[in-house]
Symmetry: C2
Subunit: 542 residues, 2 copies
């Protein structure tokens, strides 16, 4: 493998160059005051060929021992491969790659063939105090896969990427951690009567089951199916202190829930080698969709809460965009200022006040119709206009596409990042408004917010912000801006993450997020499972 | 407080003497070969006044320090009070009390007034290495509240028994741990528009919120509302290593789930002082009920699995009785051999083959009807006869009554105990059959089984067994018989508990239930949170 920085930071196929649509370019010019030149010349394009300054620091003996375990073809110390395994998709990581900065490459990349390899590698690395950073789809936006102390990047995607078994009676699948979302879903869809994994994060195309589990990820159907912690029934995890194996009981009262210690551990406690998770019958023909426009954010949020507390069944996809995100959707969909827009305004659904809601319900055919009908009643009670299945279907068709936009936006010199939180209903409106205020205080900044994972007792808030880079001072500028956002989220009673996880990026906030006793408990677990601190050092601040 | 052993082991009001119904007496005579004399004279009635042989071992200084913290009126070293706090409701505990045996009374009983008291007590006891066993409703059937190393029993029910706050927007209640089920439910039912806690274990009348949480309990509506671990959003726990406080986020990705370490810790890690849990709108008028008779156990189980995997919504109460339990229900309901029974037999629903199913769905009025309709369709597909709402309503009316029967049964010399497990669907039928075989191998033994907590991926199995005591050798006989049941459950891939917890009773099975690494992890957490081992020693085998 070889290539330049651009090959690494690109979302998706490195040879594909995503183009910004005219609407986007038009908006950027208008809003950010950009010119054709900004779009013609890529800013920090990362075309330089990679040569790492840091030479691999593993001894010949260690490298030899690793090669003996997995075979020479499964150990690499090449610059490109090391660089490729140095970063995920956090904005700051992309920015640094564009600047040709790789602070922390692994010393080697190792591709275990099976669990036996993982056990031998963990044993070896523990004996020699070589850090191990597990590596899946590297879609992490929290510096989760950055080997801050070097050592090896343990790439699970080359070999450990298959379904181990499906249990139709239990309705479960047992999977290796390095399997990517699309491969799993395709396998399940085609398996006998057809199943679905029910877990569709925005990173679905480029994320793995192991990554979903250890980061406490959430998919776009989480309101119905739950987060990954609600889907995983059992796991096998190789830790320096031994293999932890749990059982696939549907529930039990046999002490603390060990799975819930590994889930969220982000590789800091060990390497997950096997995951048994729930599956559901695949029957997309049954799915019912609808969508609404609400007059304002508050009524949309209250309608959502009403639905979640009404006990008439739950939607799977359930999502509202706040007024600015709604406006952007109108613009980007080419609907802005058109006849429909004018009619909507006349009816009281005014620009920069109205909010879009998307709804999909999966499962039994009568059930999906029943629940959609009920949601329509609630939405109507809150003054919403039903806009039918179309907008939701359209959104679903392009559900993974917005992740592709970041590269061309950054090429044009636009800072484009996201950040998310969870919060109780009580604190949601204030958090939304305060964080927006902070973000919007930066001149010319677009701040789009949606709620997309909804619970009886609260919801997540997902912030997307676009703003011109401070050229020449991109890194410092971003770090400062970003810190202020997280601080504001925290000050307004939001969690530092709902589903992205903590990684090294949010680690500095962990002692604020948790009380001292909880942090000390996480450290004590770390000390027990990984006494030499070789597992993904720095993640979670551990 | 004073009294005899009977005052302690009785379920409910000690002055109430539950009478066995004629049907029960008749059955016992017929099945167990008992005579009127067996019912006239109570076996091991426990009428002796309690005098403990073990004197309180706390030093004057320690007692004085405890009294200084909580006030002299909240510390007791009286024999009756110590005896009262020595045991829960495990069959063996009742038997020993009837025999006048109290192996492990606490040295003192302490009633903290608030969290501040708990903090001071934990600090003091930690400094002086005095064991603390938290005590709620002492409905534990796992020796959970037995102070095997003496020390203090920390009774949370006298003072720490109130609702701290209700949050209507979040739909949550924050409760002190010593609040009993009925007090909480009554409070919620009457609070403004009316709420329900949704958690109704059989021990509801005499169990506390704290006990529910730390044991991973389950209520009779768990199929809809989940187990307690699905209901708790946050907790405060006082440990020797400090106070652990979690936040009421609806979900988060901020490391391991600390709540899921405390839930199931059964007092071995600390004292829970505050619990925030989900509540739901109280609207019993909406609840839809139905019931069915299936031709056999297998079709009833498969119908249940089909419902849980169908994705048309879930019932809250969902329960089947196996053939023997169904027969007993017919007998005890006076239906055995009647006209209805004959008609049922003619229709193919034959005694000792047929199975009763109870269904209740809560929530929105249309939803409850919709789901019940769907379940009727499934049941019909599996050859069930719908017997309407009546039997389920009747069952609900007497849902807590069977717990009262154990005392008069034991008075008559009948061993009456229960044991429960969870298991994947795949292993359920075999576990049912093997454990039944083991129990039925004991002569004259009644074995009734039901499934009452149902999941997409499996269910619990709840065994109730009645058999004549081996008089004069009651303890050894029971211990041996009971051990064989747990061994058979374990050998057939059932968990050692689905919702009763582990306590000291199942502690010997923990190293079989869990792999070594999981046990060592639980111990490491124990060592960190409770380095001197003062918290409920022996529980979970820790």
């Amino acid at each position: 493998m070889y290539g330049n920085y651009r090959h690494i930071f690109k979302w998706g196929d490195p040879s594909h160059e995503e183009q910004l649509k005219d609407h986007v370019v038009h908006f950027a010019k208008e809003h950010f005051g950009m010119t054709d030149a900004d779009f013609a010349n890529k800013h920090l394009p990362g075309f330089d060929t990679i040569t790492l300054k840091k030479r691999p620091r593993l001894s010949k003996a260690s490298l030899g021992a690793l090669k003996k375990i997995v075979g020479a073809e499964n150990v690499s110390t090449e610059d490109f491969e090391r660089a490729y395994h140095s970063a995920g998709k956090f904005y700051l990581e992309l920015l640094k790659l564009r600047l040709g900065v790789i602070d922390n490459p692994p010393d080697a990349v190792v591709y275990p063939r099976d669990e036996k390899d993982v056990i031998a590698i963990v044993r070896l690395c523990n004996a020699k105090r070589i850090p191990i950073t597990p590596f899946g789809g590297h879609s992490s936006v929290t510096r989760g896969v950055e080997p801050v102390k070097g050592g090896i990047s343990l790439d699970l995607t080359r070999h450990m990427n298959a379904v181990i078994r499906v249990n139709e009676i239990n309705s479960t699948v047992t999977v290796q951690p390095g399997m990517f979302g699309p491969a799993l879903e395709e396998f399940l869809n085609r398996y006998k009567a057809g199943y679905t994994c029910g877990h569709f994060p925005q990173s679905f195309e480029f994320s793995t089951v192991g990554g979903w589990a250890v980061t406490r990820g959430a998919g776009q159907a989480s309101t119905g199916y739950g987060k990954i912690e609600d889907m995983v029934l059992s796991m096998r995890t190789v830790t320096p202190a031994g293999i932890i194996e749990t059982k696939d009981y549907p529930a039990a009262a046999i002490g603390p829930d060990i799975d819930q210690i590994i889930i969220g551990s982000e590789g800091a406690y060990g390497v997950v080698t096997e995951i048994t998770m729930k599956i559901r019958t695949y029957r997309p023909q049954n799915t019912s969709h609808t969508s609404f426009v609400f007059k304002d954010f508050k009524s949309a949020v209250t309608a959502m809460r009403t639905v979640m507390q009404a006990e008439f069944g739950k939607p799977h996809l359930f999502r509202i965009s706040d007024p600015e995100e709604t406006e952007m959707a109108f613009r980007m969909g080419g609907k802005h200022g058109g006849l429909g827009d004018k009619v909507l305004s006349l009816l009281g659904y005014k620009p920069m006040q109205r909010c879009l809601m998307f709804v999909s319900v999966e499962g039994d055919a009568n059930y999906t119709k029943f629940v959609v009908g009920k949601i329509k009643d609630v939405a109507s009670d809150f003054g919403a206009l039903c806009t039918g299945a179309g907008p939701t279907k359209k959104w679903l068709e392009q559900r993974y596409s917005s992740a592709y936009l970041r590269d061309p936006l950054m090429d044009a010199g636009i800072l484009a990042d996201t950040l998310e939180t969870s919060v109780s209903w009580e604190n949601l409106n204030q958090l939304w408004s305060e964080v927006r205020d902070y973000i919007k205080a930066r001149p010319k900044t677009v701040c789009m917010v949606h709620l997309s994972h909804i619970y009886e007792n609260g919801a997540n808030l997902y912030f997307t912000f676009l703003t011109p880079m401070n050229k020449g001072d991109e890194v410092r500028d971003f770090v400062q801006f970003h810190k202020g956002i997280v601080d504001t989220v925290h000050a307004n009673h939001g969690s530092i993450s709902h589903h992205h996880g903590v990684g090294k990026m949010l680690a500095p906030w962990m002692p604020k997020e948790h009380d001292t006793a909880s942090i000390e408990l996480m450290r004590a677990i770390k000390k027990h499972l990984d006494p030499k601190g070789i597992m993904n050092p720095g993640t979670l601040g551990l």
